[in-house]
């Protein structure tokens, strides 16, 4: 399938909704557009592409201003941005007036937050997640909450209790998951940036499948406070953006130590935007490649595009080095023991007692629990709760959970050994491009395999980025770059240089270009 995309050669050509946030920032600062016009345009886009089901709730202007989601523009009666000096990302007002979206597992005070589950169908948090506070501070306009696999469990967004999200490149295909709604919001020109959460690839995989940039920062870089937990030791919030520069400004808005999250790192976060923008061409960068990741089981179209990216990096002066990550072959079983064990505990609070759904009829406490959780959770969530409960059971703990933790340590050590030799590791994001709806729902293991390249970064707690690197049969292919702890700058600098030399990030699905 060809001709399903539009490629732009510069920002001027792009319609307003496809322009990157840094271009929108410039336009707002130079008053080429007003915040009200921008919001109206994006609101129109969301309405127009409602059928993609990217959003679970849309926050209309009236509500946003009432509860303080719109900030900078309020000072200006004419609806023009008050700022007359250009805003840089080092300023925490960089996102002023720019519409962004949030995955629906990020708590928003006074705004429904469902985590894609029936059990939280009518749940309205009483507090804001740390990232929401930060985005509000940076002036961002939060336009809606995006669809997701229930409790972030899934790789296709088909596990949402509120219907699947469609891939704008081909609406018969999944957008990936679990942050499918956020990926589609950015890919479809309905938000300039969206936050997702990545536990085993839930940002990078949908980013790859929808042709946008997605990043999982180092574990501890972004506060998890207010992120409805799936697997606490793996979950990390991260952005979806159009390009590497926007990724830098998005990280600038959300990264940093948070005393309210005990797992948040206190290693100082240096704002990235200016550093990335001014980063020089790199030579002597060492990029590691695991040969096995290009072999059997990986779609040839994907291999072709990723190999082309390797060649591009070589052309730009990077040295390509073959590395081994021997224990990553255990990543999937290790992940599905640790993640499900933590999930079985994290999801215990959804018991019908305090908030959310409660079964209407029951004879006693035990029946209330059982009926509530039976009707409130979907099949995949139940499957993982059962799996995790089993892994933690007395008599099985050592064989499963403890062994998995040991293997996790081995995987971490693999990466540390690799990063002693290379600066970055390059791989495909997924073994194949977006699959069809229903294609893998009957086979959970096949679904789990779509995360094979992304899971290790969560297990190793390292940062990893997915950027578009071409198309295979008209569907986007993602390139994954990962780096050592807290090397977000290195990742983004490489991605920025790559994007300077390529056009993949300038391509959009034709189906929603207008």
């Amino acid at each position: 399938m060809t001709g399903n995309f539009i490629e732009y050669s510069n920002y001027e050509q792009m319609p307003l909704h496809f322009k990157p946030a840094h271009e929108i920032r410039r336009m707002l600062d130079s008053k080429e557009i007003s915040p009200a016009e921008l919001r109206a345009h994006i609101a129109g886009r969301i309405k127009k592409y409602e059928r993609l089901n990217a959003f679970l709730s849309v926050i209309p202007d009236a509500i946003t201003s009432e509860i303080g989601f719109v900030s900078a523009s309020k000072t200006d009666n004419a609806g023009r941005a008050a700022a007359s000096v250009p805003v840089s990302a080092a300023d925490n007002r960089y996102w002023s007036d720019i519409p962004v979206a949030l995955k629906d597992n990020i708590a928003t005070k006074g705004i429904k937050t469902t985590a894609g589950s029936k059990i939280l169908e009518n749940h309205t948090p009483i507090y804001d997640a740390a990232v929401v506070k930060k985005l509000k501070k940076s002036g961002a306009v939060i336009i809606g909450k995006t669809n997701m696999d229930e409790f972030a469990m899934g790789s296709s967004t088909e596990n949402s209790a509120f219907g699947a999200t469609l891939n704008p490149w081909d609406t018969t295909c999944v957008p990936g998951g679990s942050s499918g709604g956020s990926a589609v919001a950015v890919a479809g020109g309905m938000a300039y940036m969206a936050l997702g959460s990545d536990t085993g690839g839930s940002i990078r995989q949908p980013a790859a499948l929808c042709g946008v940039c997605g990043m999982k920062p180092t574990y501890g870089r972004v506060s998890r406070c207010g992120l409805i937990a799936f697997a606490s030791s793996l979950d990390q919030i991260g952005p979806f953006t159009r390009d590497a520069l926007d990724m830098a400004s998005a990280l600038d808005a959300i990264c940093g130590h948070d005393p309210a999250d005990s797992t948040s790192s206190d290693i100082k976060f240096e704002p990235l935007f200016d550093q990335i923008k001014n980063s020089a061409d790199f030579s002597k960068l060492k990029i590691g490649i695991v040969d096995d990741y290009f072999g059997e089981g990986v779609d040839s179209g994907v291999t072709l595009q990723v190999q082309a990216a390797v060649d591009q990096f070589k052309k730009m002066g990077a040295e390509i080095i073959s590395i081994k990550l021997p224990h990553t072959q255990y990543a999937i079983p290790v992940y599905y023991l640790i993640a499900t064990a933590e999930a079985s505990s994290n999801l215990a609070r959804f018991d019908g007692v305090k908030y959310g759904f409660r079964a209407p009829e029951f004879k006693n406490l035990k029946e209330m629990y059982m009926k509530t959780r039976d009707a409130g959770f979907g099949a995949e969530v139940k499957r993982r709760i059962i799996l995790g409960t089993y892994a933690l059971s007395s008599g099985y703990y050592d064989a499963y959970y403890k062994t998995a933790q040991k293997a996790r340590t081995k995987i971490k050590e693999d990466f540390q050994a690799a990063f002693a030799k290379v600066d970055l590791i390059l791989s495909p994001v997924t073994p194949a491009t977006a699959f069809k709806f229903g294609e893998k729902t009957a086979d959970p293991l096949a679904m789990y395999m779509s995360d094979i390249f992304t899971i290790s970064a969560n297990l190793a707690s390292i940062p990893a980025l997915s950027i578009p690197c071409g198309l295979s049969d008209g569907m986007p292919v993602g390139l994954q770059l990962s780096a050592n702890y807290f090397q977000e700058k290195l990742l983004l600098a490489a991605a920025y240089q790559y994007q300077k030399h390529t056009v993949h990030h300038m391509r959009f699905a034709a189906g929603c270009s207008l």
Binding site: N105, I106, A107, T113, A115, L120, H123, P125, I126, Y127, A129, R224, C225, G226, L227, I228, A229, A231, S232, S233, P259, A260, D261, S262, T263, A341, E342, S344, S345, L347, A348, R349, F350, D351, V353, K354, Y355, L365, Y369, T389, L392, S393, S394, Y397, Y401
Partner: protein, 486 residues
Amino acid sequence: MNYEAVIGLEVHVQLSTDTKIFCSCSARYSGNEPNSNVCEICSGQPGVLPVLNKEVLKRAVKTGLALNCTIAKRTKFDRKNYFYPDLPKGYQVSQFDMPICENGSIIVNDSRAEVKKDKKIGITRIHMEEDAGKNTHDTAGIHSFVDYNRAGVPLLEIVSEPDMHSAVEAKEYLEKLKVILKYINVSDCNMEDGSLRCDANVSIRPAGQLKLGTKVEIKNMNSFRGVQKAIEFEIERQTKLSEAGSKIIQETRLYDEAKGITLTMRKKEEAFDYRYFPEPDLPPYDITIEEVNAIKATLPELADAKFERYTRDMLLGDYDAALIANNPPIAAFFDECVKTCNNYKALTNWLLGDIAKKMNELSTADIFTTKIRPQHLVQILNLIDNQTISGKIAKTIIDEVFSTGDCVDAIIERLGLIQISDNSLILTVINEVITENPKSINDFLEGKQAAAGFLVGQIMKKTKGKANPKIVNEMLYAELAKLKKA
């Protein structure tokens, strides 16, 4: 057959910190409207994260040091998973395999020794955890309610070794534990209001056998006496079963205070699998030797050391020394007094006699809630010593101090209680009494010494007890001697 009981106690104490263990809500929850002392964290809202209140860690270390424990170099939290409405997250954040303190001990009296003897009861471990909320049910039995005000209040669980062999010993262990915890000021330690809770593991075995019998856990004991009664009942129940040849089954039993019996709550097969695993939201904590030493420096002198000092340096009797040392406020009061008064015996007598009696009347256990202060007692003792007042007047002054808190001088002046040591005044009274009691004078002159006592009484009566008894005695005998000669 003779049976030996083996008892271990699991004690939960609420720490009296300002705030809860993982959020900034107040840890003082009682008396509040249900669910008014909660936030998104302690009510377990989706997405919330715990942040450890460092004061809890400090108090746990302090407790461990006071109980002679080894303090962990690294400690971590774990999740204990079970469903119950009072547990907001569906798991309790507790500690499983890396508790903050291990291998401690407490000294109590050996209940089996022929003569009084010290006995060391081992403390297996101390760990930190969060308290749950409280479920209540309406009288009709239709609705249940949950109050999360208590959820997240910090707890220490103190687990003893199965080193106790009688209900009395268990009670003594508990009492001693409470005294120590009161000294270090980490908890209110009140069983009645739930700030100290105790579960007991009880088993019996034929005397002399090393292998432990099947243990039964007893819950729901709400007083020190209840603990003793419940264990007594349980030992008797198990002994009867064994004597009848029946098997004791491993189970958890509830103590029914009104009936004084224990009843099955759940059998072993119904026990929960708590699926403990490391709490991923809280990284492990490393505790440095410097931190431990800093906390050690804040430890006050504890009961055993005080007892030693009172008996060895101040020569108090064991009984009196123990009474003072095991009552932290009384000991503090006593220690303040001895800074300026070395009449330890008199201090002890007054403190454990008249003052204890006054406190009983006021039904208070803490002397510092009354109006008497160490300066009062020291001054009263000094006045007795230098014969400014008599013991009888001292009692009057103490009564007055308890009701007004005024200083001793003011009380003496107001009530005119100063002792009469003026010889001429006393002589006048002596002569009056001699004139008024010719029969007693005759008796005395005939050799009845007891008559002199009567005369002293009459003199004290006339002076309303204010005459200096020593002077009265001396002068009376001198006057009587004159009469003898005449």
